[in-house]
Structure formats: structure tokens, C-alpha cells
Amino acid sequence: MDGEIFRLPRERLGALVERLARDYRVLGPVRRGDSVGWVDIRPDTVLALDYRTTMLPPRQFFAPQREVLFRFRRGADGSFGFEEPPSQEPLALLGVHGCDLTGLRVLRSFHESSCRDRVVPNRLDRAFILGLACWTPCLDESFCKDMGSLENESPAALYAWDLGDVLLLKVLTQRGREILEALAPAAATAEELAQLRRRTRVRHETFPSHLRFAPEKLAAALEAAQDDILWEANAERCLSCGRCNLVCPTCTCFDVCDQATLDGSTGARLRTWTGCQVPGFSKIAGGHDFRPTRTQQLRYRIFRKGKYMPERYGMVGCTGCGRCIHHCPTDISIRDIFRQVGA
């Protein structure tokens, strides 16, 4: 039934959650105040399936903001013993948009090509992802269509289109099929499939195009614009607040710090998100900073997304989600920069 499309009446969503809860910790988009984030859900939780891009990207669940690497305890002989935390329980993440699905792919490609560490890929392997199609751009700042993530469905196990009273679901993996079979869904009706085709076509037209070149051309375009004044002009507005790094689904950098009790006898080593726009990131002993200016730092961030990541991991490091633009206090726009270097 791979690739086949089924229909799930909206009220059966709870049954899906119930089925997933047997094997997974289930997280879904839930509205709190005027923002939406993924939280633990139950079958009766009201899901905000019409949500706009969350502030924090899904990587928060696979490589969390603050994660214990190990705990330590000083023994009677004064030497330390170490213990790794138990491995994370498998997660089911519902309602992941195309940009964030792409983000998870980038996360995987980074971890698989950069090092031998399997922690994050293993978590991704064991996760169940329900993708969700967007009908309109989430943010004014999104440019997912340009970056090719609007239509991306991988690595979802099931991919959903919200038609209002009914969700259409496409099976993408074996696991997706197993889960869906438990709900014994009917195939989508011809009318529904027609509606899906029509809306998909309309969607393609309603999503504006911002860039006039394919993402594969970015690396060369950036290279050519290395010494453009645009870097400095943008960097002048940069607050070095680091938000662009933290909200980005493809940022991966972290800091490591220790916590301990007053006498130092027990504690933990943690990793926490950081990024190339965060003061102190490129400083070494003696105070020397290898990337001291905001101009260098900003260029570095954009180069990593548009040039270094595709060159090294085979995937452009920007999904077009628009978070970094939306959350930048002075609206520094990677989209505008891409557009300018591509001109």
C-alpha cells in the first residue's frame, strides 16, 4: 500500500494517537496563548493542525537544547565513576511541515557524514514522523518552495493533507503502514483525490517564488559574493543575540558545560545549543577570536547553510522555513541575501 492514499476522518485522529502511544511518546502541535509548540499529547488533545511554523524546530527532540551527556560521581577512593543517561524513548512527532522534514534530513546527513556518533541518527531511526502538507505559506518570511522543501515528504512515515473534515494519509514507510493498518482506514475517494490534486496545484501557485535560481547554484553564487558589501551592511544591524542559530532546524553546534554539587562530588556534563553568531563561539585561550567581526560571523552562518553544508553533506543547509528571519529582531534576511547573491 506504499504511496497509496487513505482517508482518516478527523475525529479518528485520537485513535491514531492512541495507537502510537503504545509504542511512542507522542508529541503534537498544541496552541498555548498565541504560539504553537509540540507538546506531549493524549488522544483527546486538541491539535493545532493549522499551526504556523513553531519557534523551536523539531531538532529539539533529537538533539535537545540541553542534554546530559553523562553523570559522574566521586567514589571513596577519590576517582570518578561515570554513567550515561538511559537512551531516549522512541518519539512520534505529529504534524511536521515540509521545511522541518527537510530539516530532519539535514540533521541526519550532518550526523552521518560528520562523525561516527550514532546517537542522533538512532533517535531519528526509531522515531515515527507524521508529515503534514501546508496549504499557505506559514510566515511572510518562508521560502520553502524555493528551497525545495515545500513538497518534501521524507523522512515521514505517514504524510497527511488536511482537507478539513478528513485527513488524507499517504504511506511512506513500512512502519507507517503498520500503524495505519491498525486503524483500518478506507482508501481516499475519487472526489477527495481530485480535490487533493486541485489544491496541490493551487498551492504551488499561491506559494510565491522569491529566488530566481535553484538551491544547487547557491554555493557558487555565495563564493562569487564573498567580498560583497552586503555582508557588512547586514551585519551592522546584527545584535549578536544568536536567535537565528537557535531557531534554525539545521544548526547543530553545541557548547559543553559541567554542573556539580557544591563539593564537586556529583554532577553532570551537558551539551547546550550554541551557534556561530553567539559571542565567544570562535574565541580560544588567550582571548584570540578567529572570527571577531559581526560581518565575518554573519557571512559564516550564511556560507555554512548555502555552501559548506551542501559541499560536505550533500544537502543545502537551509530549508526555507524562514524562522531566522522571522525571529531576528532586526529582520536580517537570509532570503534577501540569497536573492542578492543570486542576482
Binding site: G33, D34, S35, G37, M55, L56, Q65, R66, E236, R237, C238, L239, S240, C241, G242, R243, L246, V247, C257, Q259, A260, T261, L262, D263, G264, T272, W273, T274, V278, P279, G280, K283, R294, H327, P329, T330, D331
Partner: protein, 259 residues
């Protein structure tokens, strides 16, 4: 291991930082076991001058404070400034903009004599060398304990070099500035876990600035959020108005209308 002898002193302040020290409830007895407190007026009678570490709260605001802090400096091997008043001048420094006689006249109806003589409210480091600063109004209890832990172990406390926005975003707080609230976390030094935005109030940079603040851009951010740039300056005045602290930002932003 011999316990280091520690003294606590307070100058012009609300003594809230000392209260924070007493409020490390779960670790208080352990703390008092690990250090020997020889002077802590708010909590004990004994007063000895043979301390190695002096933790000082408050701003210098009277001539006799100058004498006293100098004496503390000669006695202490390590001098730690606790809190915004001691590290930055804090809220006390706001009044420095006006002549003291004027200020006192307003509050005491013209009377200002022997009982208090006041100076411009100043951070400790304006008078003596400060070895370490634990920032915040008030200091964060966990950060204080962590600093003590580092000093006990024989090394320097850790302070983040980056903005409050980092910790704010990490904890997932929806940004207040985006919603038009005058938050200056983007120039403020982190370490407080961005507690104010998390509890619904804008950051007012009670911990001073991070390593690379951009005040001009802060004005720009305010303007984009629909607030006058002057408002950024008005916020910076709250904790960062002491002469030398203010020098960092005053030229980057239009000054708030004098009131």
C-alpha cells in the same frame, strides 16, 4: 581541607542578594559547612576581620563606604561583587543624573545633614579592584552556588559571554520584543535563564551587557517593533546608568526625554 573564611558586607542596596544567599535552602547547611562565615551582619553576631573572601553587595553611596570598602579590599584576598548595585551601580545610579541636594531636598524637604552624606551611587569597582562579579538583580541562587563551588575548587567562576536572548530562546519563551514589548535582552548578559521574559516581563539588563552588544541595532529593533528608539535608552537607564556603564550605549541611542 580548611574552610575558607568568608565575610558578607552590604552597602547601598536592598540586601536582597544576601537574602538570596540565605535562600539557597537546600544547600545552606552544606554551604555553611564548606565555608566559614566570619561576618554576615544580616544573619549573625560574630564579626571577624580575618576573612579571605569578601562578598560585597550594594553600591558605594556615602563617603564612609569608600573607607570601608578600601579596608575590606586590604583584608580580603578575593573580593566578589554581588548583584547589580555592586557590579553596575544598578537602579541606585539613576539618581546620579540629578544634583544630590536637589534629590535629597525632594525626599527630605531640604534637610540633609550629618546622618547621611551621599556620593554619586557607584559600583564597587569604581573604588577598588573587584576579582569576580556575580551579576543580577537579584543574584541567581544557582549561579551564586556555582561561583562558590568554583572558588572552593580553586578556579574562576564561569559567566556566559552571550545574550539573554540565547537562554530565552532555548527555554522556548515566545519573544516579547516581537510583540512590541520593550525588552533589551538582546544586549544583556545571560546567566539568569532569561527568567523575566519567561514570567512575562521584559528583560531590563540587570546583569549588564554581553560581550558584543550592538546598541545601535537595539534602537533599530525597537523601531521595527513599533517603539521609539528613546525607549531602548530609557530601559538601559534602569540598571546601566552609572557613568562608565552608560558610556557604552549613550551615543548609540537618542536620549530619553528628560523628566
Amino acid at each position: 581541607m580548611t574552610r575558607p573564611r568568608v565575610a558578607f558586607f552590604s552597602f547601598g542596596s536592598c540586601e536582597g542578594c544576601q537574602l538570596q544567599v540565605l535562600s539557597v535552602e537546600d544547600s545552606l547547611l552544606e554551604l555553611f559547612g564548606a565555608i566559614e562565615v566570619v561576618n554576615f551582619r544580616e544573619a549573625m553576631d560574630d564579626r571577624r576581620d580575618d576573612y579571605e573572601i569578601a562578598c560585597v553587595e550594594g553600591s558605594v553611596i556615602r563617603p564612609e563606604d569608600v573607607t570601608e570598602i578600601r579596608q575590606i579590599r586590604t583584608r580580603a584576598r578575593i573580593l566578589v561583587a554581588l548583584g547589580a548595585c555592586a557590579c553596575l551601580g544598578g537602579v541606585n545610579a539613576i539618581r546620579n543624573r540629578r544634583a544630590l541636594a536637589d534629590v535629597a531636598g525632594e525626599v527630605y524637604g531640604g534637610r540633609q545633614d550629618g546622618v547621611f552624606e551621599a556620593l554619586a551611587a557607584s559600583p564597587i569597582s569604581s573604588v577598588v579592584q573587584v576579582d569576580y562579579e556575580i551579576r543580577g538583580c537579584p543574584i541567581d541562587r544557582a549561579e551564586f552556588l556555582d561561583a562558590v563551588r568554583s572558588l572552593l575548587a580553586g578556579t574562576v567562576p564561569y559567566t556566559p559571554a552571550y545574550a539573554v536572548c540565547v537562554q530565552c530562546t532555548l527555554r522556548g519563551t515566545p519573544c516579547l520584543l516581537e510583540r512590541g514589548v520593550p525588552c533589551i535582552g538582546a544586549v544583556a548578559r545571560a546567566g539568569c535563564e532569561a527568567i523575566c521574559p519567561a514570567y512575562g516581563a521584559p528583560c531590563e539588563a540587570c546583569r549588564g551587557f554581553h560581550d558584543a552588544p550592538n546598541f545601535t541595532a537595539l534602537g533599530e529593533a525597537f523601531a521595527r517593533a513599533g517603539m521609539p528608539r528613546e525607549q531602548a535608552a530609557a530601559k538601559l537607564q534602569l540598571f546601566n546608568d552609572y557613568r562608565e556603564v552608560r558610556a557604552a550605549w549613550e551615543r548609540a541611542l537618542p536620549s530619553p526625554s528628560d523628566t
